[in-house]
């Protein structure tokens, strides 16, 4: 093992010109970013590497999911909730030395909401009517309708502030304002960041941060055991976690995520058009068996599409208790006493592949036959997400606060309920916290009672950390690995 430590020390020396191993951190992540522009792709890996480390937004997420001041140190909201006046921090510069001022904010937001914008979350900017620079340190954003989650929206990785000067090469050479500067990208292998010595806020403790891409669970196990990586974020094989827990060299953090893992159901495909059939499916599923079998016990059962760690969560799991007899009688009532056959299309993650085999077996027990096909992400996007050619599928929806997808009848599971759509519209306009909470609870109950999808469990994010590393966020309120406050214990 000594040899290994030595080699990683050498690796760091080469990477960052640092003499001691304790000033750099190597983080293993599953997926490699396709490019490095968080404002023009939905790929979570881009945010994981860059969000808040390299790029920052007007507001930012804290470790608990709260929305805190970012590049904007304060803001004022007009009475009618339509005008936001952001006061920007003084003396912030981009990594290339150019100043970050109101014109950059106007540029970034206008670029994101433009007609030909490639932003993957255009909806975040949908309600913006105009963005104007009042003076170099003040930006005024006018909305067409009040939006209770506007500050939350501005904290997303898709809303980070980019510079006019460096936008052209952002995909390969990102220039932000964060505590780390982009240094090097070895495609297929790793991305290296170095500390930004001119950071406006508290400087990072780490001198270098390296993200290594290891998607294969076996390789992840090997890399961690060999101490080739210091942290493995979202470790892909839950079955190996007990081994790490038993090993004094490591620590396992199990955090909550925004990933509602659901058995997505095509609400426009026979026989799922009948709510009794969807209810039967819900009662045929034994969530605990899926959590144990697919995730080796990691995960919290959910009864609706909402994160259990959110204060507004309503526990509706009782709505769909495991009850195969009830499921059979519901099927009989709906005219499917002899069951039926449908498709179950599974994307690559092990929660889907393993969970799918377990669900297939549970559904078979009540008479529903499934034809499983294991798809790659590209095929899944094509067939399921865009083509809507599926009966059932399993997927984890990792965007924070995404219950709004149930108000989109063209969304791939095709749930069309005008009442729900009105509710979400009203919710977006509502700014009073108490009323919002109430409405959010109603929304959760509606989709639970309608059995739109089979609600399985909230994905847990296991992070394996080498002893001595401090400040890693255990939870994942957004797809970010914020290293700005991470350090090695002395």
């Amino acid at each position: 093992m000594k040899l290994k430590t030595l080699t990683s020390a050498i690796a760091l020396t080469l990477a960052g010109g640092v003499a001691q191993a304790e000033t750099g951190l190597i983080v293993g992540i599953q997926l490699e970013p396709p490019h490095l522009d968080p404002t023009s792709a939905a790929a979570g890996a881009i945010d994981q590497v860059l969000y808040s480390n390299v790029f920052e937004g007007l507001t930012r997420f804290g470790p608990d999911g709260s929305v805190n001041p970012g590049l904007a140190e304060s803001w004022e909201i007009s009475e009618d909730g339509l005008t936001y006046t952001f006061k920007l921090r003084d003396g912030v510069t981009f990594h290339d030395g150019t100043a970050m001022d109101a014109s950059d904010v106007v540029f970034s937001l206008d670029r994101a909401r433009a007609e030909d914008s490639a932003n993957a979350q255009k909806a975040l900017f949908g309600g913006i009517e105009s963005v104007e620079a009042v003076d170099p340190n003040t930006v005024r954003v006018t909305l067409s309708a009040a939006n209770g989650s506007f500050l939350f929206n501005m904290a997303w990785g898709d809303a980070v502030i980019v510079a006019t000067e460096s936008i052209e090469n952002i995909k390969t050479d990102p220039v932000g304002t964060g505590a780390f500067k982009f240094s090097n990208w070895v495609q297929g292998d790793q991305i290296e960041l170095v500390r930004n010595e001119d950071y406006w806020g508290t400087p990072a403790s780490l001198e270098t941060a390296t993200f290594k891409f290891i998607s294969d669970p076996t390789a992840a196990f090997a890399a961690m055991m060999a101490e080739d990586v210091d942290v493995f974020y979202s470790y892909p094989a839950p079955e190996n976690l007990p081994q790490f827990e038993a090993d004094s060299r490591f620590e396992v953090l199990v955090g909550s995520s925004e990933g509602e893992t659901i058995l997505s159901t095509n609400n426009l495909m026979e026989p799922f058009t009948d709510v009794r059939v969807r209810k039967a499916v819900a009662h045929a599923i034994d969530r605990q068996a899926i959590i144990d079998g697919a995730m080796f016990g990691l995960g919290t059962p959910i009864g609706t599409h909402f994160a259990p760690h959110n204060p507004d969560y309503v526990d509706l799991t009782a709505n769909s208790q495991y009850d195969p007899d009830l499921a059979r009688s519901l099927l009989a009532e709906a005219g499917y006493a002899d069951g039926f056959t449908t498709t179950l299309k599974l994307p690559p993650p092990s929660y889907a592949r393993r969970g799918g085999e377990i669900i297939a077996s549970q559904l078979r027990a009540v008479g529903i036959q499934t034809e499983i096909s294991n798809l790659e992400w590209a095929q899944w996007l094509e067939q399921v997400f865009r083509g809507k050619d599926f009966g059932l599928t399993i997927v984890s929806h990792t965007e924070p606060f995404d219950i709004g997808i149930y108000a989109r009848p063209d969304y791939y599971f095709q749930y069309d309920n005008p009442d729900f759509q009105t509710l979400i519209e009203d919710l977006t306009a509502e700014t009073d916290p108490a009323t919002r909470s109430e409405m959010i609870a109603t929304a959760q109950t509606i989709i639970s009672n309608d059995y739109v999808n089979g609600y399985l469990f909230q994905l847990a994010v296991p992070t394996v950390v080498k002893a001595g590393v401090e400040g890693i966020w255990p939870d994942a309120p957004t797809q970010a690995i914020d290293l700005t406050a991470v350090s090695w214990s002395k």
């Binding site: 669970p217 076996t218 085999e357």
Partner: protein, 273 residues
Amino acid sequence: MSTYRNLVFGGLLSGVFICAALISFLWVPYDIEALNIAERMRTPTAAHPLGTDHFGRDILSMVMIGARTSIAVALVAVGIGMGLGVPLGLAAAANKGSILDELIGRGNDLVFAFPSLLIAILITATFGPSAVNAIIAIGIFNIPVFARLTRGSALSLWKREFIMAARVSGKNSLRISVEHILPNLANLLIVQGTIQFSLAILAEAALSYVGLGAQPPTPSWGRMLADSQTMISLAPHLALAPGLAIVFTVLGLNLLGDGLRDIFDPRLRRGRS
């Protein structure tokens, strides 16, 4: 005596797995579609002679039904190779030197030039992972093997006197190919077929290992290996059973092929032990 050693040993070894596959149609120790998470990853016991897998399924039952998948895919793939390759080879030999012969020859070269596993992966990625697409992908690469073998051996037969005699009696080349050439190639084809069969089992295992073969819940040896990979340090027996099943089946078929060759072609016997 030693002549038959390969034949007997190979026949027995592959026979065990072929029988296991056949028996699995009628009976397996446990229902593999009923999962039992609480009983997962058990080491071998009297009740589960090979233990249970990560879903608590009986591994012996899985291996038996997996044999069915592997053998069926391999058999049909070789069937496609023979069914298309042999007629092509016969046609090429009967029309030696013609454009047809040249086309078939070049076509064979072309298929051989493609990295087979890679193309098989491309084909299954294109048309979706399934046992049928795995069969097609493996089958395509078997066509030139049989076409070349058939052409080569048929050419030497065409020079033989009994073929000359048949020609003189007015039979056309199609009839000669079918009535005289083909029966004389049977032994050779059986031997090569056995070898290709074993290669196809390996190819099927590789494809299902990367997730492009038969889809769950149908068990296949390759996918059992892939599933066991992250658990190999916890429960090595999960990877042993399907792996050994592949090795023994392929070994058995290879020995059987050698044994058959020894019998059909005594001339070679001298060279072999």
